[in-house]
Protein backbone atom coordinates (compact mmCIF):
# COMPACT_ATOMS: atom_id res chain seq x y z
CA UNK A 1 0.00 0.00 0.00
CA UNK A 2 2.73 2.41 1.03
CA UNK A 3 4.74 1.38 -2.03
CA UNK A 4 1.94 2.18 -4.40
CA UNK A 5 1.45 5.57 -2.72
CA UNK A 6 5.14 6.39 -3.20
CA UNK A 7 4.90 5.38 -6.83
CA UNK A 8 1.79 7.55 -7.06
CA UNK A 9 3.73 10.59 -5.90
CA UNK A 10 6.91 9.78 -7.78
CA UNK A 11 5.22 9.65 -11.14
CA UNK A 12 4.48 13.36 -10.86
CA UNK A 13 8.02 14.43 -9.93
CA UNK A 14 9.06 15.26 -13.50
CA UNK A 15 5.81 17.16 -14.01
CA UNK A 16 6.42 19.20 -10.88
CA UNK A 17 9.95 19.95 -12.05
CA UNK A 18 8.62 21.25 -15.36
CA UNK A 19 5.94 23.31 -13.57
CA UNK A 20 8.76 24.79 -11.47
CA UNK A 21 10.70 25.50 -14.68
CA UNK A 22 7.60 27.21 -16.16
CA UNK A 23 7.29 29.31 -13.03
CA UNK A 24 10.94 30.24 -13.32
CA UNK A 25 10.42 31.26 -16.96
CA UNK A 26 7.46 33.44 -15.88
CA UNK A 27 9.61 35.16 -13.27
CA UNK A 28 12.44 35.78 -15.76
CA UNK A 29 9.89 37.01 -18.33
CA UNK A 30 8.36 39.36 -15.75
CA UNK A 31 11.71 40.89 -14.82
CA UNK A 32 12.93 41.07 -18.42
CA UNK A 33 9.78 42.99 -19.43
CA UNK A 34 8.52 40.14 -21.64
CA UNK A 35 11.74 39.87 -23.66
CA UNK A 36 11.66 36.12 -23.20
CA UNK A 37 8.07 35.57 -24.39
CA UNK A 38 8.59 37.87 -27.37
CA UNK A 39 11.81 36.15 -28.42
CA UNK A 40 10.28 33.41 -30.61
CA UNK A 41 7.57 35.55 -32.27
CA UNK A 42 10.23 38.17 -33.03
CA UNK A 43 12.31 35.63 -34.93
CA UNK A 44 9.64 34.20 -37.21
CA UNK A 45 6.92 35.57 -39.45
CA UNK A 46 3.98 33.32 -38.70
CA UNK A 47 1.12 34.77 -40.69
CA UNK A 48 2.90 35.81 -43.88
CA UNK A 49 4.48 32.35 -44.15
CA UNK A 50 1.12 30.61 -44.16
CA UNK A 51 -0.45 30.68 -47.60
CA UNK A 52 -3.55 28.72 -48.51
CA UNK A 53 -2.74 26.74 -51.66
CA UNK A 54 -4.72 27.67 -54.77
CA UNK A 55 -5.79 24.05 -55.06
CA UNK A 56 -7.51 24.31 -51.72
CA UNK A 57 -9.25 27.50 -52.77
CA UNK A 58 -10.59 25.79 -55.85
CA UNK A 59 -12.10 22.95 -53.84
CA UNK A 60 -10.12 20.42 -55.84
CA UNK A 61 -10.81 17.82 -53.18
CA UNK A 62 -14.28 17.31 -54.63
CA UNK A 63 -12.64 16.04 -57.78
CA UNK A 64 -10.85 13.17 -56.09
CA UNK A 65 -13.32 10.66 -57.49
CA UNK A 66 -13.12 11.74 -61.11
CA UNK A 67 -12.00 9.13 -63.59
CA UNK A 68 -8.55 9.04 -65.03
CA UNK A 69 -10.14 9.08 -68.46
CA UNK A 70 -11.50 12.52 -67.76
CA UNK A 71 -8.05 13.88 -67.36
CA UNK A 72 -7.44 14.53 -71.02
CA UNK A 73 -5.22 17.34 -72.11
CA UNK A 74 -8.04 19.66 -73.10
CA UNK A 75 -9.67 19.34 -69.74
CA UNK A 76 -6.43 20.09 -67.98
CA UNK A 77 -5.90 23.19 -70.05
CA UNK A 78 -9.46 24.37 -69.45
CA UNK A 79 -9.16 23.58 -65.79
CA UNK A 80 -5.98 25.58 -65.53
CA UNK A 81 -7.67 28.49 -67.19
CA UNK A 82 -10.62 28.12 -64.89
CA UNK A 83 -8.30 27.96 -61.89
CA UNK A 84 -6.55 31.13 -62.97
CA UNK A 85 -9.87 32.84 -63.50
CA UNK A 86 -11.09 31.62 -60.14
CA UNK A 87 -7.98 32.96 -58.43
CA UNK A 88 -8.48 36.28 -60.22
CA UNK A 89 -12.14 36.23 -59.19
CA UNK A 90 -11.22 35.67 -55.53
CA UNK A 91 -8.58 38.39 -55.71
CA UNK A 92 -11.12 40.70 -57.32
CA UNK A 93 -13.70 39.92 -54.63
CA UNK A 94 -11.15 40.64 -51.90
CA UNK A 95 -10.24 43.94 -53.51
CA UNK A 96 -13.91 44.84 -53.92
CA UNK A 97 -14.52 44.02 -50.25
CA UNK A 98 -11.55 46.18 -49.36
CA UNK A 99 -12.84 49.06 -51.47
CA UNK A 100 -16.30 48.71 -49.92
CA UNK A 101 -14.93 48.71 -46.39
CA UNK A 102 -12.78 51.76 -47.15
CA UNK A 103 -15.84 53.47 -48.70
CA UNK A 104 -17.79 52.78 -45.50
CA UNK A 105 -14.93 54.14 -43.45
CA UNK A 106 -14.55 57.30 -45.56
CA UNK A 107 -18.21 58.14 -44.90
CA UNK A 108 -17.64 58.02 -41.16
CA UNK A 109 -14.29 59.66 -40.58
CA UNK A 110 -13.26 63.26 -40.73
CA UNK A 111 -9.50 63.04 -40.47
CA UNK A 112 -7.84 62.25 -43.78
CA UNK A 113 -4.33 63.13 -42.63
CA UNK A 114 -3.95 59.62 -41.29
CA UNK A 115 -3.31 56.34 -43.09
CA UNK A 116 -5.91 53.68 -42.30
CA UNK A 117 -4.46 50.19 -42.52
CA UNK A 118 -7.08 47.50 -43.12
CA UNK A 119 -6.64 44.51 -40.85
CA UNK A 120 -8.56 41.31 -40.26
CA UNK A 121 -9.21 38.77 -37.56
CA UNK A 122 -7.01 35.68 -37.43
CA UNK A 123 -8.24 33.88 -34.33
CA UNK A 124 -9.37 34.28 -30.75
CA UNK A 125 -7.12 32.97 -27.98
CA UNK A 126 -8.12 31.25 -24.73
CA UNK A 127 -8.50 34.55 -22.91
CA UNK A 128 -10.87 35.98 -25.55
CA UNK A 129 -8.27 38.27 -27.08
CA UNK A 130 -8.20 38.54 -30.85
CA UNK A 131 -5.16 38.02 -33.03
CA UNK A 132 -5.27 40.38 -36.02
CA UNK A 133 -3.11 40.62 -39.10
CA UNK A 134 -0.35 43.22 -39.33
CA UNK A 135 2.35 43.94 -36.82
CA UNK A 136 5.76 45.53 -36.90
CA UNK A 137 5.74 45.12 -40.70
CA UNK A 138 3.19 47.99 -40.75
CA UNK A 139 4.92 49.84 -37.93
CA UNK A 140 2.08 49.07 -35.51
CA UNK A 141 2.82 49.71 -31.85
CA UNK A 142 1.18 48.58 -28.60
CA UNK A 143 -1.59 51.02 -27.73
CA UNK A 144 -2.50 51.80 -31.36
CA UNK A 145 -6.25 52.22 -31.74
CA UNK A 146 -8.33 49.77 -33.77
CA UNK A 147 -11.53 51.13 -35.31
CA UNK A 148 -14.40 49.62 -37.28
CA UNK A 149 -15.86 50.82 -40.59
CA UNK A 150 -18.13 53.25 -38.71
CA UNK A 151 -15.03 54.93 -37.30
CA UNK A 152 -15.77 53.75 -33.74
CA UNK A 153 -13.04 52.33 -31.54
CA UNK A 154 -13.27 48.56 -31.01
CA UNK A 155 -10.08 48.21 -28.98
CA UNK A 156 -6.37 48.80 -29.01
CA UNK A 157 -3.26 46.74 -29.70
CA UNK A 158 -2.03 44.94 -26.60
CA UNK A 159 1.02 43.31 -28.10
CA UNK A 160 2.66 43.63 -31.52
CA UNK A 161 4.73 40.94 -33.22
CA UNK A 162 6.40 40.72 -36.63
CA UNK A 163 3.28 40.18 -38.73
CA UNK A 164 0.42 39.93 -36.27
CA UNK A 165 -0.83 41.73 -33.20
CA UNK A 166 -3.05 41.00 -30.24
CA UNK A 167 -6.15 43.18 -30.00
CA UNK A 168 -7.50 44.08 -26.59
CA UNK A 169 -11.18 44.32 -27.47
CA UNK A 170 -14.13 45.24 -25.25
CA UNK A 171 -14.55 41.69 -23.98
CA UNK A 172 -10.87 41.13 -23.28
CA UNK A 173 -9.73 40.55 -19.71
CA UNK A 174 -7.06 43.25 -19.95
CA UNK A 175 -9.19 45.99 -21.50
CA UNK A 176 -8.42 49.31 -19.82
CA UNK A 177 -8.98 52.58 -21.65
CA UNK A 178 -9.28 56.30 -21.01
CA UNK A 179 -11.53 58.64 -22.95
CA UNK A 180 -12.89 62.19 -22.85
CA UNK A 181 -16.46 63.42 -23.19
CA UNK A 182 -17.43 66.66 -24.95
CA UNK A 183 -16.92 68.60 -21.67
CA UNK A 184 -13.38 67.21 -21.33
CA UNK A 185 -14.26 65.00 -18.36
CA UNK A 186 -11.95 62.01 -18.16
CA UNK A 187 -13.57 58.59 -18.10
CA UNK A 188 -11.90 55.32 -17.25
CA UNK A 189 -13.30 52.35 -19.16
CA UNK A 190 -13.05 48.79 -17.86
CA UNK A 191 -14.66 45.57 -18.94
CA UNK A 192 -16.20 42.69 -17.03
CA UNK A 193 -16.52 40.62 -20.18
CA UNK A 194 -20.19 41.32 -20.78
CA UNK A 195 -20.39 45.00 -19.94
CA UNK A 196 -18.24 48.08 -20.27
CA UNK A 197 -18.04 50.16 -17.10
CA UNK A 198 -17.45 53.87 -17.63
CA UNK A 199 -16.45 55.87 -14.54
CA UNK A 200 -15.63 59.57 -14.54
CA UNK A 201 -12.36 60.25 -12.73
CA UNK A 202 -13.09 63.84 -11.75
CA UNK A 203 -16.13 65.44 -10.16
CA UNK A 204 -18.34 66.68 -12.92
CA UNK A 205 -21.50 68.71 -13.27
CA UNK A 206 -24.70 66.79 -13.32
CA UNK A 207 -24.93 66.73 -17.10
CA UNK A 208 -25.90 63.93 -19.41
CA UNK A 209 -22.81 62.42 -21.02
CA UNK A 210 -23.03 61.55 -24.67
CA UNK A 211 -20.24 60.36 -26.95
CA UNK A 212 -16.81 59.57 -25.49
CA UNK A 213 -13.72 60.10 -27.58
CA UNK A 214 -10.12 58.99 -27.55
CA UNK A 215 -7.66 61.83 -27.17
CA UNK A 216 -4.03 62.66 -27.87
CA UNK A 217 -3.53 63.43 -24.17
CA UNK A 218 -3.80 59.68 -23.52
CA UNK A 219 -1.27 58.89 -26.25
CA UNK A 220 -3.95 58.14 -28.85
CA UNK A 221 -3.26 59.12 -32.43
CA UNK A 222 -6.40 61.20 -32.83
CA UNK A 223 -9.94 61.80 -31.67
CA UNK A 224 -12.14 58.79 -32.46
CA UNK A 225 -15.57 58.05 -30.99
CA UNK A 226 -15.75 55.20 -28.49
CA UNK A 227 -19.36 54.79 -27.34
CA UNK A 228 -22.44 57.02 -27.20
CA UNK A 229 -23.49 56.88 -23.55
CA UNK A 230 -26.67 58.91 -23.98
CA UNK A 231 -29.11 55.98 -24.34
CA UNK A 232 -27.83 54.27 -21.18
CA UNK A 233 -28.66 54.91 -17.55
CA UNK A 234 -26.14 57.23 -15.93
CA UNK A 235 -25.77 57.06 -12.17
CA UNK A 236 -24.17 59.92 -10.28
CA UNK A 237 -22.54 59.45 -6.89
CA UNK A 238 -20.39 62.19 -5.26
CA UNK A 239 -20.55 64.10 -8.53
CA UNK A 240 -18.92 61.17 -10.33
CA UNK A 241 -20.75 59.48 -13.14
CA UNK A 242 -20.86 55.72 -13.74
CA UNK A 243 -22.41 54.18 -16.83
CA UNK A 244 -22.71 50.47 -17.59
CA UNK A 245 -23.00 49.53 -21.25
CA UNK A 246 -23.65 45.93 -22.38
CA UNK A 247 -21.22 44.67 -25.00
CA UNK A 248 -23.27 43.82 -28.07
CA UNK A 249 -20.82 43.88 -30.94
CA UNK A 250 -18.85 40.66 -31.31
CA UNK A 251 -15.96 40.64 -33.74
CA UNK A 252 -16.14 38.04 -36.51
CA UNK A 253 -14.08 37.15 -39.55
CA UNK A 254 -16.32 39.51 -41.52
CA UNK A 255 -15.61 42.49 -39.26
CA UNK A 256 -13.87 45.30 -41.07
CA UNK A 257 -11.12 46.70 -38.89
CA UNK A 258 -8.69 49.55 -39.43
CA UNK A 259 -5.65 50.86 -37.63
CA UNK A 260 -5.08 54.60 -38.06
CA UNK A 261 -1.44 55.66 -38.27
CA UNK A 262 0.18 58.99 -39.03
CA UNK A 263 1.52 59.32 -42.58
Amino acid sequence: MRNSQVVGVRKYVVYFLFIFLSGLLSVVDYFSNKTLSNFIPDQVNVISNIQIPDRFLQNELSNLYSNKADLVAENIRLKEELTNLRVLYIENQELQDNIESYEDLIKNITNFDLTYYATSLILKNSTDEYLISGGRDYNFKPGDLVINEKGYIVGYLGEVFNDYSILESFNSTNFNFRALDSNNNIFEVKSNGKELIFSSLESSLNLKVNILFSDVTFGHINKFPLVDLEPYEQTTLNNKITVIVPIEEILTFQSKLFIPKSK
Binding site: Y12, V14, F18, I19, G23, F39, I40, N125, E129
Partner: protein, 150 residues
Protein backbone atom coordinates in the same frame (compact mmCIF):
# COMPACT_ATOMS: atom_id res chain seq x y z
CA UNK B 1 14.99 9.43 -32.80
CA UNK B 2 13.60 10.21 -29.37
CA UNK B 3 14.10 13.94 -29.97
CA UNK B 4 12.25 13.76 -33.30
CA UNK B 5 9.42 11.88 -31.58
CA UNK B 6 9.20 14.48 -28.82
CA UNK B 7 9.24 17.37 -31.28
CA UNK B 8 6.61 15.80 -33.53
CA UNK B 9 4.29 15.12 -30.56
CA UNK B 10 4.83 18.73 -29.41
CA UNK B 11 3.99 20.09 -32.85
CA UNK B 12 0.95 17.83 -33.06
CA UNK B 13 -0.26 19.14 -29.70
CA UNK B 14 0.42 22.72 -30.76
CA UNK B 15 -1.62 22.18 -33.94
CA UNK B 16 -4.52 20.80 -31.86
CA UNK B 17 -4.22 23.90 -29.66
CA UNK B 18 -4.32 26.09 -32.77
CA UNK B 19 -7.36 24.25 -34.12
CA UNK B 20 -9.08 24.71 -30.76
CA UNK B 21 -8.56 28.45 -30.97
CA UNK B 22 -9.79 28.58 -34.58
CA UNK B 23 -12.85 26.54 -33.66
CA UNK B 24 -13.73 28.84 -30.80
CA UNK B 25 -13.27 31.89 -32.99
CA UNK B 26 -15.98 30.48 -35.28
CA UNK B 27 -18.30 29.40 -32.47
CA UNK B 28 -20.18 32.45 -31.29
CA UNK B 29 -22.49 30.44 -29.02
CA UNK B 30 -22.18 30.52 -25.25
CA UNK B 31 -19.81 27.57 -24.93
CA UNK B 32 -16.40 26.41 -26.07
CA UNK B 33 -15.22 23.23 -27.74
CA UNK B 34 -11.84 22.65 -26.14
CA UNK B 35 -10.26 19.85 -28.12
CA UNK B 36 -6.79 20.58 -26.79
CA UNK B 37 -8.14 20.48 -23.25
CA UNK B 38 -9.80 17.13 -24.04
CA UNK B 39 -6.45 15.86 -25.35
CA UNK B 40 -4.80 16.91 -22.09
CA UNK B 41 -7.48 15.09 -20.08
CA UNK B 42 -7.08 12.04 -22.30
CA UNK B 43 -3.31 12.09 -21.78
CA UNK B 44 -3.80 12.48 -18.04
CA UNK B 45 -6.37 9.76 -17.61
CA UNK B 46 -5.65 7.18 -20.29
CA UNK B 47 -2.07 7.39 -21.49
CA UNK B 48 -0.32 9.18 -18.63
CA UNK B 49 3.44 8.92 -18.91
CA UNK B 50 6.49 10.90 -17.89
CA UNK B 51 7.52 10.95 -21.53
CA UNK B 52 4.63 13.30 -22.28
CA UNK B 53 5.86 16.05 -20.01
CA UNK B 54 8.30 17.54 -22.52
CA UNK B 55 5.84 17.70 -25.48
CA UNK B 56 3.20 19.32 -23.24
CA UNK B 57 5.80 21.75 -21.91
CA UNK B 58 7.00 22.66 -25.42
CA UNK B 59 3.48 23.13 -26.82
CA UNK B 60 2.69 25.32 -23.81
CA UNK B 61 5.78 27.43 -24.43
CA UNK B 62 4.78 27.83 -28.11
CA UNK B 63 1.25 28.81 -27.10
CA UNK B 64 2.54 31.29 -24.53
CA UNK B 65 4.93 32.81 -27.05
CA UNK B 66 2.58 33.19 -29.98
CA UNK B 67 -0.95 33.57 -28.72
CA UNK B 68 -0.96 34.70 -25.13
CA UNK B 69 -0.45 38.13 -23.63
CA UNK B 70 0.47 36.62 -20.28
CA UNK B 71 3.99 35.86 -19.12
CA UNK B 72 5.84 32.93 -20.67
CA UNK B 73 5.16 29.78 -18.71
CA UNK B 74 1.67 30.53 -17.41
CA UNK B 75 -0.23 28.37 -19.87
CA UNK B 76 2.57 25.79 -19.79
CA UNK B 77 1.99 25.40 -16.06
CA UNK B 78 -1.78 25.27 -16.57
CA UNK B 79 -1.44 22.49 -19.17
CA UNK B 80 0.84 20.45 -16.89
CA UNK B 81 -1.39 20.96 -13.84
CA UNK B 82 -4.45 19.83 -15.84
CA UNK B 83 -2.66 16.59 -16.79
CA UNK B 84 -1.44 15.92 -13.23
CA UNK B 85 -4.80 16.72 -11.68
CA UNK B 86 -6.82 14.61 -14.10
CA UNK B 87 -4.46 11.68 -13.57
CA UNK B 88 -4.57 12.07 -9.80
CA UNK B 89 -8.37 12.23 -9.60
CA UNK B 90 -9.01 9.33 -11.94
CA UNK B 91 -6.40 7.04 -10.40
CA UNK B 92 -7.43 7.97 -6.85
CA UNK B 93 -11.21 7.57 -7.28
CA UNK B 94 -11.07 4.96 -9.96
CA UNK B 95 -13.18 4.89 -12.99
CA UNK B 96 -16.86 5.84 -13.05
CA UNK B 97 -18.32 8.31 -15.52
CA UNK B 98 -19.19 10.66 -12.66
CA UNK B 99 -15.51 10.87 -11.69
CA UNK B 100 -14.59 11.67 -15.28
CA UNK B 101 -17.20 14.44 -15.44
CA UNK B 102 -16.01 15.81 -12.08
CA UNK B 103 -12.43 15.68 -13.37
CA UNK B 104 -13.39 17.55 -16.54
CA UNK B 105 -15.28 20.15 -14.48
CA UNK B 106 -12.40 20.81 -12.09
CA UNK B 107 -9.76 20.76 -14.79
CA UNK B 108 -11.81 23.14 -16.97
CA UNK B 109 -11.78 25.57 -14.04
CA UNK B 110 -7.99 25.32 -13.97
CA UNK B 111 -7.77 25.59 -17.77
CA UNK B 112 -9.85 28.80 -17.87
CA UNK B 113 -8.33 30.29 -14.72
CA UNK B 114 -7.05 33.55 -16.32
CA UNK B 115 -10.64 34.40 -17.36
CA UNK B 116 -12.16 33.23 -14.09
CA UNK B 117 -9.86 35.44 -12.05
CA UNK B 118 -10.48 38.54 -14.17
CA UNK B 119 -14.21 38.27 -14.73
CA UNK B 120 -17.17 37.83 -12.43
CA UNK B 121 -19.12 34.58 -12.01
CA UNK B 122 -22.09 35.68 -14.10
CA UNK B 123 -19.80 36.21 -17.11
CA UNK B 124 -18.49 32.68 -17.33
CA UNK B 125 -20.74 30.39 -15.30
CA UNK B 126 -23.35 29.47 -17.94
CA UNK B 127 -20.71 29.07 -20.62
CA UNK B 128 -18.68 26.94 -18.19
CA UNK B 129 -21.60 24.60 -17.42
CA UNK B 130 -22.53 24.14 -21.08
CA UNK B 131 -18.86 23.61 -21.95
CA UNK B 132 -18.64 20.81 -19.36
CA UNK B 133 -21.55 18.98 -21.01
CA UNK B 134 -20.24 19.47 -24.56
CA UNK B 135 -16.64 18.60 -23.77
CA UNK B 136 -17.57 15.60 -21.59
CA UNK B 137 -19.61 14.27 -24.49
CA UNK B 138 -16.67 14.72 -26.86
CA UNK B 139 -14.29 13.15 -24.35
CA UNK B 140 -16.47 10.06 -23.84
CA UNK B 141 -16.98 9.70 -27.60
CA UNK B 142 -13.24 9.95 -28.18
CA UNK B 143 -12.50 7.48 -25.40
CA UNK B 144 -15.01 5.01 -26.79
CA UNK B 145 -13.80 5.41 -30.36
CA UNK B 146 -10.17 4.86 -29.38
CA UNK B 147 -11.11 1.86 -27.25
CA UNK B 148 -13.04 0.29 -30.14
CA UNK B 149 -10.10 0.86 -32.46
CA UNK B 150 -7.73 -0.82 -30.01
Amino acid sequence: MKVIRFISISLFLFIICLVENYLNTFITLNFGVYIFFISLIYMGTEIFSQNLVFPIFLSGILYDSFFSTYYLGLYTSIFLIVVIFSNYLVSRYRGSSAIYIATISICLLIYKIPILIEFSLNYWFVSYCVSIVVNSFIFFSLKRALKINV
